[in-house]
Amino acid sequence: MSETSDRFAPRSDRFYRPALALARGALVLCGWRLLVRALLTLPLLLSALQVSGALARRPYFADAKLPLPSVVLLHAFTKLASLLPLVAGLALLWLVIEQLLAGGALSWLDPMRLSREAVHHDTAQPSASRTLARDGLAHLFALLRVSLFVATLLFLTQRGLSLARSSIADSAELAGASGATIMLTLPLLLTLAFLLVTVVLSSLALHTRAITVADGRRRVRRTALVALRLWRRHPLRWLVPGLVRLLLLAAGAALLFAWRQSAPRGAALAGFAAAWLGYLVLETYLWYWLLRAARLLYAGRRAAALRDVPDAPWGVLRLLRYLAFWRRRTTSDSTATP
């Protein structure tokens, strides 16, 4: 990193509070995200209304007492489950779009660039929208590989915990533990452990993405190691993105649960819909906040040494190739001996 750009690096060790303020172009970024999301969800909304409309034509559902009895609700879920393939497809598409938006936004939220603009009043830069599209596309493939990397880690964690659950449950049963311990306490603890891991992995994903975009890195596993070294320098702050996202998801789940439990009609339904829209706006703002804070964190003084870590491949493939060649050579040498 050059000295010129260091002049614009964040001076303080505060990252999350300064990131709360809306930077120039922040509204554009958030607006694009909300718009894309709304457009993406439109087919789902139309399909959902079609399915729910068909349900609402059946007196079994339409005349049931509110809140819907368990069996009626179960039948409704069974019918609504026809939406699952669409939801899965849209979720995957959203994951790709999210990387595009994140790449562009992380690029736009470069603290050095924003500081430079603030000092020199340089407004001749490309617009936020153009950066979003151009830099988003430039980093898309790298960020998608980050998703794949984290998904692999998440899968391995889940498998590990699942095996652990089975093993611990066996041991607990053999030790004469109660049903409450095995059926309630143990699953609760394992769920907590899983959530803790998701907090770490979610944070890892975000910081890896921020570093990838900041330095233009392309080696995902090596960048993830840099992100982990950043964790050592900021043990608590590094975890904030995962924690915030988890809380956000929990809040969303609670809102949806409350919605279903109260089976609202009329104004109450409008209230829940408005609350959900508010939730989506909040989620978008938090997305912006966490991206900006991640960039600030990596641009901070304590991360200076990390920025010099080379983006070279580990050479695993080269090593394997070398080992294979070496083995072939030694084998041919030994057979050539008279």
């Binding site: 059946r58 079994y60 559902f61 998904a151 049903g179 979610s202 439990q261 829940f272």
Partner: protein, 688 residues
């Protein structure tokens, strides 16, 4: 009978006396013995192959490397006419499936043939080992449910004049003759014991470090006992409201869960009251209710004469999941009901399992409702009654059903449907019968059935005969059809539409006047050619009913008039507006699909926008039926079986149609499911 808890070993001697029926056509040369514990001897027994309730032996073996149990007669001797004991030969037989690895049934070749009316006396030394609880029996460390533990004589069917013993199968249970039991139990000191029957003074003193207990019970067809070092017991006497002796109920629960006895008491005492009033008095003076510890949960929910196991006794019952839920109590009520259907009526469960499980399931729903009212069963504040759970259970399996309930043996139902046939279908059939013929009629049928066949091993035909005699021909015809039909009935609205009635285009004559309607005219001359019945000047709604008929029943298209129920006048402002305009007529067409049963009529209701309701009772014999109505109001709703009388019709989602969807529900579920989709998208974005 001696139990060694460490090795789970049992050792004992059976002194068996059995009198051959005097009506037996020939001397008896062989008698069958059940060795039920051998079902748990290895993974290729018939029971294991049939894999009761999808039991995963691999996972179980991962936890318990040596869970196996077995039963083996070491010496079988017959007392001869000379009074001496002579060894008899035994050999395994597999009459049901020829599985050479199954030894749950052996045959004893008698040393001396047994003449009709003579008494057989066998002395059987045996050793056995209880399995780690896989299902229904077993134990480990400090808890043992010792059931199906002794070599047991197969039942003799006096109607067919032969033994009817079968191997032990996964989906079905037991069948045996009634007998008087006198059992001495030898366990380590410090072990609490509960057993079938009443405790009496033992014949001899126990060995040091041991306890010796003796139990006797007359007229039961099995004997089970429970023992453990971490169990406690409470005894409460209860006099059933419907009569019979005062029952000494002994509750045996794991130490630390004695406070849960109040739950079991409410269920058991309430159950005894209801069943004794509706079915008949419970004749025994004792009942033992066991709540197994968590490790013994595979022995929960079982019934033996005067001894039942409820769901587990565990802190889990005090948790937020089950503290206010009555499902555990319901299990206790179900097992209590078995005292009647399995214990006292004692039908052949291996052949006609539904006579026990199905009838008992019907009664456990009724009993639970009577004892707990609406508070039974809920999930997150939403009601989930036993009946709806049963309907949901049948609904899940309905696609796989291939057979009728009334077929035997009961272990050979299409894989995965045994529970539906044995439990749900008969219970829902009885529920349907109750709604159609009245609760009192069903009560009379059951009380007569019980009074006539207690200790009598009734068969399905016996029950149907009682139903005919007490409940009438229609009841018997319905039950017979429900038990013998392969399909589960499903009534549904196949099509429904309503549209503006228009004059028929073309040339036609009405009242001597010829009309020619062209395409452009049909809107203006909208009443021309309208059937005068559509104007309803007589106050009746005229409906064209198409019934295609069935085998032996001619089809027809008939106009029928119905006196509409409900207020035809709609007082709303919109209705007033409609009135002020010229009257418009609508043609509504409805097509319904039914199962085509002979004895399953169903009510059909058509509701119109003006509030008029037309009720028709469809005899249900044809497989479909159509209605066509032309009147001055649009069809608003069609309902089949609005009151839910046909409990057997488990898919009730298709029993109705509304022209206008319920907007609140449509928006609520539509927006909510979209929000769920968005939340999932957020989750994916957050984690990846």
């Amino acid at each position: 009978m001696r139990l060694d808890p460490k090795s789970r070993a049992l050792e004992g001697t059976v002194h068996l006396r059995w009198r051959a029926p005097a009506s037996a056509p020939a001397p008896i040369r062989r008698v069958p013995l059940h060795l039920y514990l051998n079902a748990f001897a290895h993974e290729q027994t018939t029971w294991m192959r049939e894999s009761h309730r999808g039991f995963d032996i691999g996972e179980f073996l991962g936890r318990y490397p040596d869970p196996w149990g077995y039963s083996e007669p070491t010496a079988v001797r017959q007392r001869t006419r000379a009074g001496t004991l002579r060894a008899a030969m035994t050999y395994p037989i597999q009459p049901d499936d020829g599985n050479p690895l199954d030894r749950t049934l052996v045959e004893v070749m008698l040393v001396e043939p047994l003449a009709p009316g003579a008494t057989l006396e066998l002395v059987i030394d045996f050793k056995a080992r209880l399995p780690i609880p896989i299902a229904r029996t077993g134990g480990l460390d400090d808890y043992f449910l010792v059931a199906q533990w002794f070599p047991k004589l197969g039942a003799y069917d006096t109607r067919r004049q032969r033994f009817v013993a079968r191997q032990f199968h996964g989906p079905t249970e037991f069948f045996a003759d009634f007998a008087d039991y006198d059992v001495s139990i030898d366990v380590p000191s410090g072990f609490l014991v509960g057993a079938t029957g009443a405790r009496v003074t033992p014949r001899k003193k126990p060995a040091p470090g041991r306890r010796l207990l003796r139990y006797r019970q007359r007229a039961v067809h099995d004997f089970a006992w429970v023992t453990g070092s971490a169990l406690v017991a409470e005894r409460h006497a209860h006099r059933p409201a419907g009569g019979g002796p005062t029952v000494n109920v002994r509750y045996i629960v794991p130490r630390g869960t004695a406070h849960q006895v109040t739950r079991w008491r409410r269920a058991v005492e309430g159950g005894l009251d209801v069943l004794s009033r509706r079915v008949g008095p419970y004749p025994y003076a004792t009942l033992t209710v066991v709540a197994p510890p968590w490790r013994g949960r595979n022995t929960s929910g079982m019934e033996y004469p005067t001894l039942i196991t409820a769901i587990v006794g565990d802190d889990l019952l005090d948790s937020f999941l089950l503290a206010d839920n009555k499902v555990p109590e319901e299990v206790a009520i179900h097992e209590l009901g078995h005292q009647y259907f399995y214990g006292l009526l004692a039908s052949n469960e291996q052949v006609d399992a539904f006579l026990d499980e199905g009838f008992n399931s019907y009664w456990h729903v009724r009993t639970s409702l009577a004892v707990f009212g609406r508070e039974i069963g809920h999930v997150l504040g939403r009601s989930l009654s036993s009946l709806t759970r049963m309907q949901a259970g049948l609904s899940r399996r309905v696609g796989a059903i291939r057979e009728a309930v009334l077929r035997s043996p009961s272990n050979l139902f299409y894989p995965g449907t045994a529970v539906a046939h044995i439990y749900f279908r008969p219970a829902l059939t009885l529920r349907t019968a109750e709604r159609r013929f009245g609760r009192a009629a069903i009560d009379r049928v059951f009380s007569t059935y019980y009074a006539r066949y207690a200790f009598g091993h009734p068969k399905p035909e016996d029950f149907l005969a009682v139903a005919r005699e007490v409940g009438g021909e229609a009841l018997e015809a319905f039950l017979r059809e429900a038990f013998t039909r392969r399909d589960v009935p499903d009534f549904r609205v196949d099509a429904a539409k309503t549209a503006r009635w228009r004059s028929p285009r073309g040339r036609f004559v009405v009242g001597g006047t010829t009309h020619t309607i062209k395409t452009d005219d049909s809107r203006d001359k909208r009443d021309t050619g309208l059937d005068r019945r559509a104007r309803e000047k007589d106050g009746y709604v005229w409906v064209e009913v198409t019934d295609p008929g069935a085998v032996g029943l001619a089809g027809s298209v008939r106009w029928r008039r119905f006196k509409p129920r409900g207020d035809k006048r709609d007082s709303s402002r919109a209705a007033a507006k409609r009135e002020s305009r010229a009257r418009r007529y609508y043609e509504s067409v409805v097509r319904l699909i039914g199962p085509g049963w002979k004895h399953l009529p169903v009510s059909v209701e058509l509701r119109f926008d003006d509030g008029a309701r037309v009720h028709d009772l469809w005899d249900g014999r044809a497989t479909w039926r159509a209605y066509r109505v032309v009147r001055a109001a649009r069809l608003a709703e069609v309902r089949i079986d609005r009151a839910g009388d046909i409990a057997l019709d488990v898919d009730r989602t298709n029993n109705g149609w509304r022209r206008v969807p319920e907007r609140g529900l449509k928006r609520d579920l539509g927006l909510w499911s979209t929000a769920i989709g968005q939340w999932l998208m957020t989750a994916l974005g957050a984690w990846l």
